[in-house]
């Protein structure tokens, strides 16, 4: 344990420790500051490619997405964030009915970025992007229609 110090010894020791602390802060006063000036440093901002910003549907070179409207992502989601509407379309050539995606609704406001939907998708039809500036003024804008976005992009 600590030894008992005399009155003056304690005083001197106390002043010594205080000066040690002041030496450190005094040194930091002149070091380079670590503040990141966010909106200005957008170009140099480092974001890991694995960062989960929001869900998107990636496209291949022709602008097609691989979604087959199986609904596994919808089932995997713990928060009911994803709602898929699909319809059956008759394929003229084969004569078989095939499910086609009509609407892929994704509620960013309810998403907790657990990645279960991406894990569930066997076709790589959805993925997270690093886009993180998702603030909006109205809650309802957070409900996104992903395949509509896709169409707009094409």
């Amino acid at each position: 344990m600590k030894e008992k110090r005399s009155y003056l010894g304690g005083l001197m020791h106390g002043i010594g420790t205080l000066l040690t602390g002041m030496k450190i802060t005094g040194r930091e006063f002149f070091t380079k500051k670590v503040t990141e000036q966010y909106p200005e440093n957008r170009d140099t901002l480092e974001i890991s490619p694995r960062f989960r910003g929001r869900l998107t549907m990636p496209t291949d070179a022709e602008g097609n997405n691989k979604c087959i409207a199986c609904g596994l992502c919808q089932m995997a989601c713990p928060n009911d964030t994803i709602h898929i509407t699909s319809e059956s379309v008759l394929n003229e050539e084969t004569g078989k009915k095939k499910k086609v995606l009509v609407k892929y609704e994704y509620d960013l406001g309810a998403c907790m970025f657990c990645q279960l939907c991406v894990n569930a998708c066997a076709h790589g039809a959805i993925e997270f992007t690093t886009e993180f500036e998702n603030a909006v003024f109205d809650r309802s804008t957070l409900v996104m229609n992903l395949n509509e976005e896709l169409r707009m992009k094409n």
Binding site: M22, I24, Q37
Partner: protein, 358 residues
């Protein structure tokens, strides 16, 4: 060195040339009052800005950067926001005292502020018991703080106010003792006179050891006196949310806030005046050329330079140390600062009696 009293004399003679004496003095008083308030506000703004930047630098940050270049307009924006905010009245509070408290605090602060000699001939209140008046005026502030805590009808506020009362009244003592040490050396309490006596060397050099000890005690006690870290427990934000001014909003809060910062400046200003020679330039005996050059620098630059340097040191204290506990604060005062201050006073008396100072 330029004597500012030439300007004041000229204004006085100009006014008396076409006005009766009483009216002229009245107008002068009004003008000085406005100037003091203006200076008070400007100092407050500079202090708040400085606090934010200095604190940021100690913490590896940049501080305000958005409003204006390097955030210089930030404080103006804050003041503007404060002015347009609603002053909320608390139910079950003692309305009269609740509204009175911030004005007592600001009044005490302005009275003390008016005592500071900014430059040669630029003193507002300057009479033979200057220091005495200054300490008396500045300690009225504690009444305002106690009233604020009591009338808010808030338990946090009350605890904060009680802490503040105990602390400020205690530290008044060692502050007085350290000022007394220098008064022993100067045998005057008039602030302008004290500055004049430091023409051949500042008291911190002239009074050597006891003056230096007195300076350190004064800084510690002064820091405690204005409730700043590490003695900020009346408003210890991690314990009592905001202490005695928890329930204040808008400009009423603003008055407490401004008074706190200007009080810090006053402490620094008094330290500069009494220990570091006030507006008196740095003179070294024998180096006449150097002394003449120093004399070309105007007095108020010297004064503000020294005062802000002391402010910077006090900020360095605040942003380095953890907060003390109430019993530790009182221990520090009554077991360390007061006995040391008394011994120091004795030492100074001996030095003065045997003429051992420079």
């Amino acid at each position: 060195m330029f004597d500012f009293s030439i300007v004041t004399q000229w204004i006085h003679s100009l006014l008396t040339s076409f006005l009766p004496e009483e009216v002229a003095v009245f107008i002068e008083c009004l003008a000085i009052g406005v100037c003091i308030l203006l200076a008070y506000a400007i100092i407050a703004i500079i202090m708040i800005f400085m606090e934010r930047k200095v604190c940021a630098a100690f913490q590896c940050r940049l501080g305000p950067m958005r409003v204006g270049p390097w955030g210089t307009i930030q404080v103006f924006a804050d003041v503007f926001k404060m002015l347009i905010k609603e002053i909320i009245a608390i139910r079950h509070s003692d309305k009269f005292l609740y509204n009175l408290a911030p004005y007592i605090v600001i009044l005490a602060s302005i009275m003390a502020f008016s005592c500071l000699p900014f430059s040669k001939g630029m003193e507002v209140l300057d009479f033979n018991v200057g220091i005495f008046f200054l300490t008396a005026a500045s300690s009225i502030g504690v009444v305002g703080i106690l009233l604020a805590g009591w009338s808010s009808n808030n338990k946090y506020s009350l605890i904060g106010a009680m802490r503040s009362g105990a602390q400020m009244i205690s530290y008044e003592l060692s502050m007085g003792l350290s000022l007394l040490t220098i008064i022993v050396l100067t045998d005057t309490m008039q602030l302008s006179e004290i500055v004049e006596r430091q023409a051949d060397g500042w008291f911190i050099f002239k009074g050597h050891i006891p003056a230096f000890i007195a300076f350190v005690i004064y800084l510690i006690a002064g820091n405690a006196e204005v409730n700043r870290g590490p003695f900020d427990l009346p408003e210890a934000e991690s314990e009592l949310t905001a202490g005695y001014h928890t329930e204040y909003s808008g400009m009423h809060f603003g008055l407490f806030y401004v008074a706190e910062f200007v009080n810090l400046f006053i402490i620094a200003g008094v330290a500069a005046t009494i220990f570091l020679g006030g507006w008196m330039p740095l003179h070294i005996n024998g180096l006449d050329g150097f002394n003449t050059v120093m004399d070309y620098i105007p007095g108020f630059v010297w004064f503000f330079g020294k005062a802000f340097f002391v402010v910077w040191i006090l900020m360095w204290f605040k942003w380095t140390f953890p907060r003390l506990r109430i019993d530790q604060i009182l221990t520090l005062e009554w077991k360390y600062l007061v006995p040391i201050g008394l011994l120091n006073l004795l030492l100074m008396v001996i030095i003065v009696v045997f003429d051992l100072h420079f």
